[in-house]
């Protein structure tokens, strides 16, 4: 040890104090919200406008083609659809904020109730897929980067490119063929709530989650691999090696932090896909989720339900991208400042 003579101990107020850190977090949250609000406004405007433009009306829904002009006018008035568009829009937004999405034109069930019923299914699949994607993508990506140029790396690159050329449901079909048809060990579709039977719930979720996650896992692995290969070449990685750190420390503490940026950004793009893209997975595996609800309602012309599902999805998308942005900024303080 070096001995330095020192008269008085130094006062070391190391790094950023927790207070300043949380302040910074708040500020980036605020900045995110400042962007999110106009985005939400535009997205909801389009969503509501879509319903207004459609040829469907509550009278059609109830009476079908036998609805007379008078019926339509009466029902439209009853649902407030004869008001100016902009008034309708703001009253819809106002009610939506309080969790009131109106009632279905067909079943007359409150839309909120249907969504509350369906959302857990979609979220189970999305969260499950997210977990698989992150774990699988991270492990494979890191392994490929460390194997840069080797056979494993090339195999990963090949499989990832292949996965990016097939529609998501093809992976689902392959998984069903293998696990449900050829060696029937998993159900090909259906759903049981976790409160009914948690083992069954997991069993029904495995294939949907896996098939939904593959695309994201592949993309994540590829981005992480490219990012890591780039950072492993950086001088500060050499610097860390020179300091005598273990490979694990060099990769996880020094390289990953800087190489994970693009991967995290991609993850931000994928979270909405896992929520919105679940329509197809839900159809393939016959899951009663939000996507199915949206699809069935759209095909029936049940405008309030479609609007509500779109709005919920948009909300989830915005929240997830906000979280990812905050994560990115915390991971790489330098990039936040460069803006």
């Amino acid at each position: 040890m070096v001995v330095i003579e020192q008269s008085a101990p130094l006062d070391v107020g190391v790094a950023v104090s927790p207070r300043r850190r949380s302040l910074r977090l708040l500020r980036s949250l605020g900045r995110g919200l400042a962007v999110a609000v106009p985005v939400l406004f535009i997205a909801t405007f389009i969503t509501y406008g879509l319903g207004a433009l459609s040829k469907f009306s509550p009278a059609n829904a109830v009476l079908g083609d036998t609805a007379t002009k008078a019926d339509i006018t009466r029902m439209n008035h009853q649902y407030g659809l004869d008001r100016p568009f902009i008034v309708q829009y703001f009253s819809w937004v106002g009610r939506a904020v309080r969790g009131d999405f109106g009632t279905s034109w067909f079943t007359h069930i409150p839309v909120t109730q249907s969504i509350e019923q369906r959302l857990p299914v979609s979220l189970s699949v999305a969260v499950g897929a997210l977990i698989i994607a992150v774990v699988l993508g991270t492990l494979v990506g890191i392994a490929a980067a460390l194997n840069n140029g080797g056979w494993f790396d090339r195999a990963v690159t090949f499989v990832c490119s292949l996965l990016s050329t097939v529609p998501g449901f093809v992976a689902a079909i392959v998984l069903i063929t293998v696990f449900a048809v050829s060696l029937p060990i998993l159900p090909s579709g259906g759903y049981v709530g976790p409160s009914v039977n948690i083992g069954q719930w997991l069993k029904f979720l495995i294939l949907p989650c896996l098939s939904l996650s593959l695309d994201s896992a592949a993309d994540l692995a590829r981005q992480l691999r490219n990012g890591l290969v780039g950072t492993l070449r950086e001088n500060y990685v050499t610097g860390a090696v020179v300091r005598g750190y273990s490979t694990r420390r060099v990769v996880f503490v020094h390289a990953l932090r800087n190489g994970a940026g693009p991967a995290l950004a991609v993850l931000g793009l994928h979270v909405p896909r896992l929520i919105g893209g679940a329509v197809i997975t839900e159809t393939v595996f016959a899951l009663p989720g939000l996507g199915q609800l949206a699809k069935d309602s759209a095909l029936r012309g049940d405008v309030p339900v479609v609007q509500a599902t779109l709005l919920v999805t948009i909300g989830l998308v915005l929240v997830s991208s906000l979280l990812v942005n905050i994560g990115l900024r915390r991971l790489r303080p330098g990039t936040g400042r460069a803006e």
Binding site: P38, P167, R273, G277
Partner: protein, 291 residues
Amino acid sequence: MNTFRRSWQLRSAKISIAILLVVVVLVVFGHLLAPMNPLQQHDGQILKGPSSRFWLGTDYLGRDVLSRLLAGSALSVLSALEAVGIAFGLGVFPGLASVYLGRSFEWVSQRVMDGLMALPFIIFAIAVAALLGNGLHQAMFAVGILMAPGFFRITRAAAWSFNQAQYVEAAQLLGASPWRVIRTHIWNKVLPTVAITTANHIAGALLVVSSLTFLGIGVVPPTPTWGGMLASDLSYLAQQRWAPIFPALVIMLTVGALNALADAIRDSAGDSVRQTTGRRRLGRVQNVGAR
């Protein structure tokens, strides 16, 4: 322009172009090349494997799979092109304009694009198709609108970086009009970037079209489409495990060729293009359709 000439030299580009030319032939002449009527149901020939009569076998109604595949290519590919065409128009020109038309236009266009990016692809396309009349054109219009931000951002980023270049500044100082600067200096430089984005988005749109037709959106049942064939194959998976291979392979080849072509152009382009479109395989719009 050198970028394109250089990229044609690459082997991957040649293979991709060969595949895409075949696809174009299928799109234009597919219905003529089909050996049989794609809608005709052959009695007693249900769910048969490949044979000398039915090269790729028959489906659950006894229709010839090869003929359906060939006849279905036009609708699948043209729909994708339709969506990308709309996205191109709504993305590239506002993207260029946002660099030159001042801060307020910039702000508004950015926010609109952000808003579009928050909308989920498939659900939105389904909603539009269903609510505005169940047609593939409506769905493709929706997809086109949602893809516009991709073009907008990439064009904007490219134009922005070139606009900072000194020769552009020099031209502006010499009194060239903004329109002339765009036409003579920016457009040529932005073109490779736009080409890469276009190829990637056509690939993405094809996947979306497949997904939508798979769900039965916008198409009336007997009409053959690649995605629709996969959907019916799924129902008869127990009887015909190999059946999804053919439509899936056609989609994979087309999408793969488009992505490889985009990579080839990116690889032959200069650093600035690589920066705006991301490194190879970094910026690819992967499975846009899944959003």
